[in-house]
């Protein structure tokens, strides 16, 4: 299991488009992917779930990956946050 923290960089936060990119990326991997924020536990492969976070710019999220390909999943997902979802 891998756990790490990320910060939302893009100005408009985790709105619909980045949320869709995030779940699509996460769905490519077998590993379970959960996001934690403000006491909420969200399945990172569910678009409704990710949008429920309503994460704004600067928000801190804890990501947890668990499964055989967790390292690859982490690398792909973290890259999205690092690049600010190319926005």
């Amino acid at each position: 299991m891998i756990e790490r923290e990320v910060v939302i960089k893009n100005r408009s936060g985790l709105h619909t488009r980045p949320a869709a990119t995030l779940v699509k990326t996460a769905a490519r991997f077998k590993a379970d992917f959960f996001i934690y924020k403000d006491g909420m536990e969200i399945n990172g492969k569910s678009i409704i779930g990710v949008m429920t976070l309503a994460a704004e710019q600067g928000a801190r999220l804890t990501l947890r990956f668990d499964g055989a390909d967790e390292a690859e999943a982490e690398a792909a997902v973290v890259q999205l946050f690092e690049s600010g979802f190319d926005e």
Partner: protein, 337 residues
């Protein structure tokens, strides 16, 4: 199946302003003093009637709770002379009291108001009688301080039974929920279900404020169940009564065949009846969900099909003389339908 540890959280405090906003209509609250103290925090779900503290005994005074001044407290203050009353109120408001509720349509005088104002303690009035007021306010506070968690699941009311559908991402929870809605059942929440533990052993589920009754159907995108199917297809809250774990069919795993043992799983430390449901293409999971709900109702009303069948079998086995072939009908009448 190993149960994943859910992250529970409980509010540490709410502000007096939040309490006021959430209850001013329901409790007909009117603010009469101390508007400067609305940011004061309430950390306890119980309320306190400060009778003894007013009379002078302040050891063990639960000053940190919402203070209720009902008829007893107000009459007591009234029969004191002005100096005594000032001393009494000063003694009480010296403590970090979050707020004061004056019930039963009692009113406060200028002396009371100025002391509360100076100490920055918000005072509210309500026309409700004390017992009713305490009941409503206690219910609100209890809910606010109840432990909560979010769970990735679909939550549907099927024949009045709260079915929580869980399972891995992409197994088809939302599609089953949609099928149930189509058959006249009611959606509570999809994907993100917020569960609150009320009292002892009651779990209440609801959706989140943002998502309400939106759901995602893979290949379609987002849909709004309320605007698509109408008001009959949704509800805002429901008790969680059965957890259905949808799982991929695994031929090496054994699934229950009789349903004789009542299986439960702990959800927020509450044992909830659960069904492990293996699914595969072509299996009508919706109908099975309906049957699970009906079976739960039968059991709830005292009829357990698995036990009844066992009883019948035992009777037949213990019968001394038995025909080889016990047909349900003794003989066929001349009615060949």
């Amino acid at each position: 199946m190993p149960q994943r540890q859910l992250q529970e959280n409980r509010k540490e405090s709410i502000t007096v302003g939040f309490l006021f906003d959430g209850n001013k209509d329901r409790l007909h609250l009117q603010m009469v003093a101390g508007s400067g103290g609305l940011s004061k925090e309430i950390r306890d779900k119980n309320v306190h009637r400060p009778g003894l503290a007013l009379a002078g005994y302040v050891q063990l005074f639960r000053y940190d709770r919402v203070q209720i001044f009902g008829n007893t407290e107000m009459r007591y203050l009234e029969q004191l002379n002005t100096d005594e009353r000032r001393a009494t109120l000063e003694r009480i408001f010296e403590f970090e009291v979050p707020c004061v509720m004056i019930t039963g349509d009692n009113a406060i005088d200028d002396q009371f108001r100025s002391i509360a104002e100076r100490r920055g303690i918000p005072v509210f009035r309500s026309p409700l009688e004390t017992t009713k007021f305490v009941y409503f306010l206690g219910d609100f506070l209890d809910d606010q301080f109840s432990p909560q968690c979010t769970i990735h699941a679909s939550f549907v009311d099927v024949y009045g039974v709260g079915l929580l559908l869980t399972g891995r991402s992409g197994i088809g929870k939302s599609e089953i929920a949609l099928d149930l809605i189509e058959r006249g059942h009611r959606l509570v929440a999809d994907d993100v279900v917020m569960i609150t533990r009320k009292g002892e052993g009651i779990l209440m589920g609801a959706g989140s404020e943002l998502v309400k009754h939106f759901m995602e159907i893979r290949g379609l995108g987002l849909i709004d169940v309320r605007s698509m199917f109408g008001i009959r297809a949704i509800r805002f809250q429901k008790r969680v009564e059965v957890v259905i774990e949808l799982m991929d069919w695994n031929e090496n795993q054994e699934y229950t065949r009789t349903g004789l043992d009542d299986k439960t799983m702990p959800l927020m430390d509450v044992p909830i009846p659960n069904v492990e449901l293996p699914i595969f293409p072509g299996k009508n999971v919706t109908v099975i969900c309906e049957v699970i709900a009906l079976n739960y109702l039968l059991k709830h009303y005292g009829y357990d099909a698995a036990r009844e069948f066992t009883k019948r079998l035992d009777t037949v086995i213990s019968r001394k003389t038995r025909q080889m072939d016990d047909r349900a009908i003794d003989y066929f009448e001349h009615d060949f339908e």
